[in-house]
């Protein structure tokens, strides 16, 4: 378990570093093409950071509202409250606010900008189908997301991805409006000649591909964090079969989720509203927010 946790953390750092280099390279190329130096990159980063900060600061309320989550008291859901309180003790964190989502499909998510402002929401379906140990496994997973500040990490990744998208957008527009002039011979600084043309072609290709690459990276981070939360959640409960059992039940449950949408898919314990059961094709895996559930169960069972 310990080494799994360490490996997952290492991989996250690698992915983030890779993204940073990618953003830097893209910004540099953008600067070269437009002759604006590094300013373009900085502006794009600032805009993306401002947008992400807003969602970081106020996102939890939006997400809870979008899921139609309702706060529940200890009297209404004593078992859930006791379990959340127990795992908060195990993690040494304050007790998060507790919400229930009126959905038949078993699922759960955690949100909030830091452990002091965190919330855990579970669906009614989860409460109905899981026994105590399974519910503890699920809550342990969510508690790990809170302790690791995955919401913050998500914000950082979203900022990077956002700036890539912004730069790519700028570049495409520039090719459309100003760039054409360059090929037509009206460009101001054409000292590069052929070299510049190659650069421009590479830039155009990147402008088209970059947003897709950025999305893939973002999803890779998301999947890595799910594995990490699984391992750490098992660490908290000291009982991996609990979460494994819960995931097995979720895997066999075919109830679609009504509140599922792409904007919040990455938050849930398991990707909501799978259309056709399993996803094992590498291409599908590349574009999913969560690792294949069978893999997660297998890893938990090996612990």
């Amino acid at each position: 378990m310990y080494e799994q946790i360490a490996r997952n953390k290492r991989k996250t750092i690698f992915i983030i570093l890779g993204t940073l280099i990618f953003v830097g390279a893209l910004g540099y190329l953008f600067g070269l093409l437009l002759n604006v130096g590094i300013a373009g990159l900085i502006i794009a980063l600032l805009i993306a950071a401002a947008m992400s900060f807003y969602s970081y600061r106020y996102g939890d309320r939006l997400v809870l509202r979008a899921a139609r989550a309702r706060p529940v008291t200890h009297e209404e859901e004593p078992r859930l409250h006791n379990i959340v309180e127990g795992l908060a003790l195990a993690a040494g964190l304050p007790k998060p606010a507790i919400y229930v989502v009126p959905e038949k499909a078993p699922n759960a998510f955690a949100t909030g900008r830091d452990p002091e402002h965190s919330s855990i929401a579970v669906t009614q379906g989860l409460l109905d189908t899981m026994n105590r140990v399974e519910l503890e496994g699920v809550i342990g997973h969510e508690m790990s997301h809170i302790r690791d500040r995955d919401m913050l990490l998500g914000t950082i990744v979203a900022t990077l991805v956002g700036s890539v998208v912004l730069i790519a957008e700028f570049m495409l527009r520039w090719f459309w409006w100003g760039g054409g002039g360059m090929f037509g011979g009206r460009g101001r600084d054409r000292e590069g000649g052929e070299g510049f043309a190659i650069l421009a072609v590479v830039g155009l290709l990147l402008a088209i591909l970059a947003p897709i690459i950025a999305q893939v990276i973002k999803l890779a981070v998301s999947r890595r964090r799910e594995y990490l939360a699984d391992a750490e959640g098992a660490m908290l409960t000291r009982y991996p079969p609990g979460l494994a059992g819960a995931l097995r039940k979720i895997a066999t449950d075919a109830t679609p989720m009504r509140v599922a949408n792409n904007a919040t898919a990455h938050l849930w314990l398991n990707q909501p509203s799978r259309i056709h059961g399993e996803q094992n094709h590498w291409f599908e895996n590349l574009f999913s927010t969560h690792p294949p559930i069978q893999d997660r169960i297998r890893i938990l069972e090996e612990m």
Binding site: P78, N82, L89, A90, N131, V133, E136
Partner: protein, 184 residues
């Protein structure tokens, strides 16, 4: 000459820096261990509060078990007045056994077992017991980190100078896991 002086000075600064960092880590762990202990205490108290309710509700059905009621009450007082980590753990273990016997008695009365009041009480007891276990886990993890730092070289020098002593682990019996045992 100047070079040697610079090296010596540099080493002294490094050692001092290490001392400060280690001291702060020790303090942080000690504070965390104290907090963790008070969290255990909160949950233990919560359990003491639940016991009279449990005794009351079983009493209504099993009047003749007077001896058991008295024993549990006595174990509860004992646990409440226990001092020191080890004595506390021992008293809590005995109390847990007493509570389990009470619940076993309650199991014999289907009416009691099915009553809303008793079910709620049982959930609170189970919940509190697992909270005790989780708080204990966090406490013991913290104590382990603290003790390792106090005992391993070179941090033990800092710990000795600042008067840090290893803390005791809180060893209580884990509530059994698994769906079967949860149903009692």
């Amino acid at each position: 000459m100047l070079v040697v002086l610079a090296i010596v000075l540099g080493l002294v600064v490094l050692v001092l820096l290490y001392g400060v960092v280690t001291y702060n880590r020790l303090v942080r762990l000690r504070v965390r261990a104290e907090n963790a202990w008070s969290q255990i205490d909160v949950q233990l108290r919560r359990r003491y509060d639940l016991i009279p309710n449990l005794v009351q509700s079983v009493k209504g059905y099993a009047e003749h078990e007077r001896e058991l009621f008295e024993e549990v009450a006595q174990l509860r007082t004992q646990a409440q007045s226990a001092s020191g980590v080890q004595a506390q753990a021992q008293a809590e273990n005995q109390l847990t056994q007493g509570i389990n016997r009470l619940i076993a008695v309650a199991e014999r009365y289907p009416d009691l077992k099915a009553s809303q009041n008793f079910l709620a009480l049982q959930e609170e007891l189970t919940g509190t017991e697992s909270k005790i276990a989780y708080a204990r886990q966090f406490y013991n993890d913290t104590v382990q980190a603290l003790n390792t730092l106090i005992q391993s070289f070179p941090s033990r020098i800092v710990a000795n100078l600042a008067g840090f002593t290893p803390r005791e682990f809180f060893e209580i019996e884990e509530p059994a896991r698994g769906p079967v045992s949860v149903q009692f």
